[in-house]
Symmetry: C2
Subunit: 360 residues, 2 copies
């Protein structure tokens, strides 16, 4: 089976290396890699100067999209699917916006569209969720699905450093991008929880309608106060399907020490979901990093090679989305935190965090 | 696709109900169910008086083995595979003894052998492990993979009851069998860790050579002493691949509160494994119970129906097996616990528990 890769950065380059490592054994070969001309020398004969040399190439069976961004990857994915190629992507921006269209087009063309790496890095989460929804009704999903912000909050709490210092360390270690705004403000987790929710609830959950509240206002003083109250602060994404509508929240949450999210630290991610027949399932692993993410992409490629990746989205339309403001919240104002039943506007306080309980 | 079920008890009956619930939607039908004559009225036309009416039935594509035990299920599985039928089983006794033969025969016949439900109940663990070993080297597995004993230890620790009372409660709730010896003494977890290890390390790990030490000697006094030392007691299975040999242990372990196993309570299970490219992956869910286990079986059946379950065991022979006696241990004698570096014989003490650390 022949692979084309779009983008040879951290992730795409990791995929190239992994597939090259076992090409002979598995019969999977990378034929073309599209990137900027600066990569031409490194890639040699496999260098592709345009995405069309990959997406429209008759020799290529599977296109791995590892470009990042939105509009350009969208056009490439559509072109590849229309040319009868299967597509594997780790791009949550483009998946969260267009998953309905990608799945429908893949079905129409009889090819695969797989996006395991778009949520939870190397965790085999989407494939498990797809198996679960095949024989269960899923009604709730929650977890920590951003490695950058979990690293920052863990570092701040355990080592008593400022948010800026923790962010710098995350960048130094490769857990945060140059512009970490989408991580810090929750947009990244919003996209990811909406991808999971769309698959779990069998309809599109539009991320643009989701309330998210970031961690930029978190200070060591707030963390100390949270701890003094007997809690740990985690940045959590959660969604629930209730009476045909979806509640989604991406916001800091206070959790007790015996909460399964309390021990998920640094760049690790964890996701739990509730099934009607199978109760709660949980998944844990590295949510960021070159080889964890590349592993998830290559696992998708291997599924296609083994004929094991068939999945077509059950699309029952678009869900109405609301927030969790009626829950119990920890609110911080004038140097003091307290708990209140429900909030109307987060900006009434210096900082807010929902009280997150598994048994809710 | 037509299914035959061997055994219509808690698990087999759960599978029957689940498949009947969505037969029309999925095109999967239960044609025959073998069980004792007492089930004849309930099963009607689908009742099979002998296993041959299932295993040799030309109309049946997949045989679900839910009998329990060892010799009789073994004969049925071999017969079904030899007749060109795929087999799905939750039976860890028979899988831990014969997995090499089952996988080889399935490969020879071009059919599927799937055993997701044999370890970790409803957790999608074996399918994830198979995906992981396809593109990673796995070197360590650890977890809590017996719901009965985890329920008992949790109950004893949180509610200060005796082992006998906790066991009675587990039986009342359906989390323990009438004869819980295999659970309490660790034989059940030994079988399960050997199934996982065989798949992960690509060679047979014979469970009969594995050291296991049960929880029958645990008392409220020991639990109090463990707690006073700052630990929680968990019954843990662990294996490691080191220089082509395998170390396996199934023994009580003391863990710190921030250990990911510390918050796995009651009938829940959790398993973690280390991959070279993908770092640590973890899985959590109900390790026992009718519908969690039936869900795993039905997920395997659905994989076969979708053409998604192909897997053939990479068999590199049988591993030499040793124990973890050189590790740090908590030892209890004359009403007092202490830590020692290595033990030579567990029976030198009233009770022993290994100090389990993730970072070891």
């Amino acid at each position: 089976m022949n692979i084309g890769i779009l983008g040879c950065g951290t992730i795409g380059g990791g995929v190239l290396k992994m597939i090259d490592d076992f090409s002979a054994e598995k019969g999977i070969y990378v034929k073309k890699v599209f990137d900027l001309p600066s990569k031409k020398d490194m890639l040699g004969e496999r260098f592709a100067a345009t995405p069309d040399e990959v997406c429209l190439n008759d020799e290529i069976d599977v296109v791995v999209e590892a470009l990042g961004g939105d509009k350009f990857p969208y056009e490439c994915i559509i072109k590849a699917l229309n040319s009868g190629k299967s597509v594997v992507t780790s791009n949550k921006e483009v998946v969260s916006l267009h998953l309905e269209e990608f799945y429908a087009l893949a079905k129409e063309k009889g090819v695969y569209f797989l996006c395991e790496a778009s949520v939870g890095g190397g965790i085999p989460l989407i494939c498990s969720l797809i198996d679960s929804v095949n024989i269960n009704n899923v009604s709730r999903i929650y977890g920590i699905i951003n490695g950058t912000t979990n690293f920052i909050l863990t570092k701040m709490a355990k080592e008593n450093v400022s948010l800026d210092d923790a962010l710098s360390e995350a960048k130094r270690l490769g857990f945060a991008e140059y512009d970490a705004t989408a991580d810090l403000e929750g947009l990244d987790m919003t996209r990811k929880i909406c991808i999971l929710s769309s698959i779990a609830y069998k309809g599109y959950v539009p991320y643009v309608n989701v309330y998210h509240y970031g961690i930029t206002k978190v200070t060591p003083e707030i963390l100390s106060d949270v701890k003094a109250n007997g809690y740990t602060l985690k940045f959590v994404a959660e969604s629930r399907l209730i009476d045909g509508k979806v509640k989604v929240s991406v916001e800091p949450c206070v959790v007790k020490a015996d909460n399964p999210l309390a021990n998920v630290n640094y760049e690790f991610n964890a996701v739990y979901y509730h099934c009607d027949r199978n109760d709660t399932l949980g998944f844990y692993g590295k949510g960021a990093g070159r080889f964890p993410t590349a592993s998830a992409i290559v696992a998708d490629v291997a599924r296609i090679a083994n004929g094991n990746g068939k999945y077509y989205f059950s699309n029952n339309g678009e869900f109405e989305v609301s927030n969790f403001f009626d829950a119990e919240y920890y609110v911080y104002k004038n140097g003091k935190g307290e708990f209140v039943n429900g909030i109307t506007n987060p900006s009434d306080y210096e900082f807010v965090a929902r009280l997150f309980k598994v048994e809710d």
